[in-house]
């Protein structure tokens, strides 16, 4: 332990004019500026004070959004990253500041969001002594970061931050955490300037494409009778929306999206057949088990998409395009793996495809869609009477925004309904917590989205349960003015769990009955205007008022208490066993 106290003096370097003596904290701020970071979400504390002191001098170049809880900071950074396609940056202090980031790191890890978190740490000589606010953040965050590193010497800072940004954004993106001890932040060292990183020898962000696989894939597609494309967030992360569109258009392929792929293809594209998965559309789920060639683009065959694996697309030859080799054959065995960045693989593949049409095959999708429309969608979107449904709210929202808004959702029934019915014209418009299913994600993520895409309208659709998990971030809105339009779909239940308890636990409603405060009054306390709507005839006017507000607005909509989201692939069943109503679940 003694040795740690003496931080080795920086190696004597040949002084050039460019080398100046600077603090580690200055080097941190300079790195952020060089990486073109304009917004930081953070919360100060003892162990990160030197960095905040340096930030004081960078106030003109970098906007710092003071959140109300570190979880809010990282979700905001996620929202920022998802809306902008850039790296989200978070500052937090040691100990509880760092542990509060864990949920967001896990969320960003599983949803492949580029984030760089900088946490303060106690002095290096105190490491391992149970010092005040000391926690082993590197080990705590190892399973939920793409990479992490503890800096104990200021000399490491420029190169480590360069590496952090490179790793976070390249290949399959993910969160990176850099823990910097306080002595390194304070230490003066000879700073030679910042140099971005573009190579780490042990890290291969994208595999080089093997042309033979692309050729095999093209052959399979050209010979297919019932090809089916399923696409995920890889298309968005790879900025390959145009390449993807060209690919399906040339070969006339029907396509369906995963939760995170939503928006990569415009909702009204004639070849867009809908959503996959547990609460996805009927046709795409059923026909997954009838296609002869399944082409998966930038998606990872999550269990919520596949249902029971031994009943998933067994008849199909599977072509899997993914940048991450560990996803190939992980859940579903690929007949032809096409490793690589889909921005590169898709055009190569498109080149080799024949122009084709599959009118009969498409008709199968439209027939199923008609069936779903008649049994579920019409009732959800246009109920004749009774309380407002969640779908209706989204329907009116579509009408008023024309599909141009960014919609951020939380987790639960409202999330599934919003994803099913919201319309999107452009990519990076839908932000949700997919893999981790983090309730409380939406409000802070929507705040981040406002900074990530300042020219766009950001609507956060949140349940009454999830909103109460992070509602302290209304304070962030109050202080910094993010113009988040908040819609709370209040069914007075933790709706998704209630749905499962109704369907699978004989309606034994165990602690899903949640009471709420007067949300409008809560918002008013934070200086945010709002109103509560229970009647159908008031809905449109209220949504208009919300969208017209120059600033944040909270609209609480009282919706049907015990509505269920259908269709549904019950857990443990195959996608072909998707049901349209509770009666079909035996």
């Amino acid at each position: 332990m003694e040795t740690l106290q003496a931080i080795p003096a920086p190696a004597v370097q040949n002084k050039t004019a460019a080398i100046t003596s600077q603090s580690g904290s200055y080097a941190v701020m300079d790195a952020l500026v060089q990486e073109n970071v304009k917004t930081i979400f953070g919360y100060p504390g003892g162990a990160i004070m030197p960095i905040y002191d340096a930030l004081y001098d960078f106030k003109e170049q970098v906007k710092h959004i003071l959140v109300r809880h570190e979880q809010g900071a990282i979700h905001a950074a996620q929202g920022f990253a998802r809306a902008s396609g850039e790296v989200g940056v978070v500052f937090a202090t040691s100990g509880p500041g760092a542990t509060n980031l864990v949920t967001g790191l896990a969320d960003a890890m599983i949803d492949s969001t580029p984030i760089v978190c900088i946490t303060g740490q106690v002095f290096a000589h105190l490491l391992g002594t149970d010092a005040f606010q000391e926690i082993d953040v590197i080990n705590i965050t190892t399973p939920v970061t793409k990479w992490n590193f503890q800096v104990t010497d200021a000399n490491e800072i420029p190169a480590i931050l360069a590496k952090a940004f490179y790793i976070a954004r390249s290949g399959r993106p993910g969160p990176v955490l850099i823990d910097i001890t306080k002595n390194a932040q304070l230490q003066l060292f000879d700073y030679a300037g910042y140099e971005p990183c573009n190579h780490v020898r042990s890290y291969r962000p994208k595999p080089i494409i093997r042309k033979s696989y692309v050729e095999q894939a093209a052959k399979l597609i050209n010979e297919a009778e019932r090809p089916f494309v399923i696409f995920g967030q890889g298309v968005i992360l790879g900025r390959a929306e145009a390449e993807f569109k060209a690919f399906i258009e040339k070969a006339g392929l029907p396509a369906a999206w995963t939760l995170l792929g939503l928006g990569a293809l415009p909702s009204d594209h004639p070849q867009n057949t809908g959503m996959l998965g547990m609460h996805g559309n009927y046709g795409p789920n059923v026909l997954t088990n009838e296609c002869d060639v399944l082409i998966a683009v930038g998606m990872r065959f999550d269990d919520r998409v596949t249902g029971r694996l031994d009943k998933y697309a067994r008849q199909a030859k599977v072509i899997h395009l993914d940048i991450d080799p560990s996803e190939i054959d992980k859940n579903v065995k690929a007949t032809v793996p096409v490793w690589g960045d889909c921005k590169e693989t898709l055009p190569m593949l498109t080149e080799l495809l024949q122009e084709k049409l599959y009118p009969k095959w498409f008709q199968r999708f439209w027939d199923h869609q008609e069936k779903e429309k008649n049994t579920i969608i019409d009732q959800e979107m246009h109920p004749a009477s009774g309380t407002i449904t969640m779908g209706e709210v989204i329907g009116v929202l579509n009408e008023l925004t024309n599909g141009d808004a960014i919609i951020v959702t939380d987790v639960g029934q409202h999330q599934m309904v919003t994803c099913r019915y919201a319309k999107f014209n452009e990519s990076k418009s839908h932000i949700t917590s997919g893999g981790l299913g983090t309730m409380g994600f939406a409000l802070p993520a929507a705040i981040g989205a406002c900074y990530g895409a300042p020219q766009r309208t950001v609507v956060a659709v949140i349940g009454d349960g999830g909103f109460q998990m992070t509602l302290q971030e209304l304070g962030t809105i109050m202080q910094f003015g993010a113009k988040v339009k908040i819609i709370i779909l209040n069914n007075q239940f933790l709706g998704m769990v209630r749905q499962w308890q109704q369907l699978f636990n004989d309606k034994r409603y165990s602690f899903v009955d949640i009471t709420s405060p007067d949300f409008v009054k809560v918002a008013a306390g934070f200086g945010i205007n709002g109103q509560k709507v229970s009647e159908r005839e008031d809905l449109k006017t209220a949504l208009k008022a919300m969208l017209a507000e120059d600033g944040s607005y909270l609209l609480e909509v009282m919706v049907t208490k015990e509505n269920n989201v259908f269709p549904m692939v019950p857990q443990g069943r195959g996608v072909g066993e998707i049901v349209l109503s509770a009666a079909e679940i035996k």
């Binding site: 399973p143 573009n198 890290y203 080799p325």
Partner: protein
């Protein structure tokens, strides 16, 4: 698919925390690591892990791709026992009096390929190297003689058909020649943790 013993060989950077990163890949899936050894490799500055687990090949392949995904991992291989040459070393501490009186030490040493590392008036330490059943066999012999301490090392393994990591890396690069493939030719140069 049948579970069997696999030896995983991982080439990595020498980085604090990487051991934990690799260990959690197993612990997260509740897979028991039977033996783990870290050591330098044939390439200067590159470290080498040997990990022994009993699993199906399908699982092992997925584990290796998860290991390889780690930023500081260069490459992971997996092999069955017949594809590798492996050894484990064991130390045995026994009372010298017992050994001297009851055993024909010379025969013992010959039969088990053991050698005496330390001989004191109160105890003697033997060492042997070999496969698990060989080191175990000597335990069985020494136990009745009052075996005081026994310890066995992790497995170290050499891949039979490997021609060294330099060559493997080139082959790997031919299949997927990375963008900066050329830079990896300088792998044996003792660079920093990474280059920029």
């Amino acid at each position: 698919m049948q579970k069997q013993e696999f030896t995983i060989t991982v080439y990595t950077e020498n980085q604090i925390g990487l051991l934990n990163r690799i260990a959690t890949i197993f612990s997260r899936r509740k897979i028991n690591v039977e033996s783990l050894n870290t050591s330098p490799s044939e390439v200067e500055s590159v470290h080498r892990f040997n990990i022994v687990i009993t699993e199906t090949e399908d699982v092992v392949r997925k584990l290796c791709s998860q290991i390889e995904k780690q930023v500081e991992v260069l490459k992971a291989y997996y092999n069955t026992a017949d594809q590798i040459v492996w050894q484990e070393m064991a130390l045995y501490k026994v009372p010298t009096s017992q050994i001297a009186e009851k055993v024909q030490v010379e025969r013992l040493l010959r039969k088990y390929g053991a050698r005496a590392v330390v001989i004191r008036h109160d105890y003697t330490v033997f060492e042997t190297t070999g496969h698990r059943e060989e080191t175990d066999a000597l335990v069985a012999v020494l136990e009745p003689l009052g075996l005081i301490e026994f310890v066995r090392s992790a497995r170290v393994a050499i891949i039979k058909d490997s021609v060294g990591f330099h060559e493997k890396l080139k082959e790997f690069e031919q299949r997927e020649p990375g963008e900066e493939a050329a830079e990896n030719e300088f792998l044996s140069e003792n660079e920093q943790i990474f280059t920029m």
